[in-house]
Amino acid sequence: MANLIIALVLGAFFGFALNKAGLTKYNKIVNVFRFTDMAVLQFMMTALIVSMIGLYGLRAIGLLVFPNIPATYIVGNVVGGLVFGIGMALTGY
């Protein structure tokens, strides 16, 4: 139960960050594929770097254990990514 409330609160911050970065707008998403607005990449890569440093740092000092990482199955991941890109450019999700 506590876990579900944590999820709700974290989700709210997640949505807030997405909205403020402008990623809830069609033009931001599609323009990254046209190389005219790199906000999506800047946002994603900043988030990746911050959480990578945080997670690997916390693990190094023994404060947390990693959950199961998403499974690697090369064909599935690549084909999924390819189809996903079509949907993303179409809808601006």
């Binding site: 997640f14 949505g15 033009n27 990746l48 911050v50 690697t72 189809v83 996903f84 890109g85």
Partner: protein
């Protein structure tokens, strides 16, 4: 303090600042509940829930029994949170379009490319969303569930996914925009 309040009211933040916020949320998700961020999985949980109520035989398979068990999951709560978070974000910057006339199709760029008709926007969003959700099912996650939360654990799957996503995204944008690219 005033500076922070004013910054919260801004419509668009620097993507770097918003990215740092998301990074911290990602760390907290792992630290506080041993889970990853995600959005697309919740729809599959919901679909499973509805499907098992409507036609239990069809949904009694490996995928819905073990990979994506239906029910009120962590991901679904997060999705509800994302909705309200986005809501709050728009409300603080004064761009909330709830009930306004141009609420459905307010994107200038979209109108320029596809036209001002609202049904077109709905149709394209619906078709695109089916494609998205299906692809997320194949790959094992979406932009948030695989690319960001997998990437922050340095999972190879995330980087394969990002590469595929950009390759076909660029191609699709090229086809849609053609000479306006």
């Amino acid at each position: 303090m005033k500076f922070i309040l004013n910054y919260i009211r801004k419509e668009t933040w620097s993507p770097y600042v918003a990215g740092i916020l998301l990074g911290i949320v990602g760390i907290l998700a792992v630290w506080a509940s041993d889970s990853l961020l995600g959005a697309s999985g919740a729809f599959e949980n919901l679909a499973g829930l509805i499907g098992q109520a409507v036609s239990p035989q069809t949904f009694d398979n490996m995928y819905f029994n073990f990979i994506m068990p239906p029910g009120l999951t962590y991901g679904m709560m997060m999705l509800i949170g994302i909705f309200f978070g986005g809501f709050i974000g728009a409300a603080t910057s004064g761009t909330l379009k709830w009930g306004r006339k141009d609420a459905v199709n307010s994107d200038e760029q979209w109108k320029r490319i596809f036209g001002p008709q609202i049904w077109k926007r709905w149709l394209l969003a619906f078709i695109g969303a089916i494609v998205l959700e299906y692809a997320a099912g194949i790959a094992g996650g979406c932009t948030s569930g695989l690319a960001i939360s997998g990437g922050m654990l340095l999972a190879p799957a995330a980087f394969l996914f990002i590469a595929g996503m950009f390759a076909s995204g660029i191609l699709t944008a090229l086809i849609i925009y053609r000479e306006r690219y």
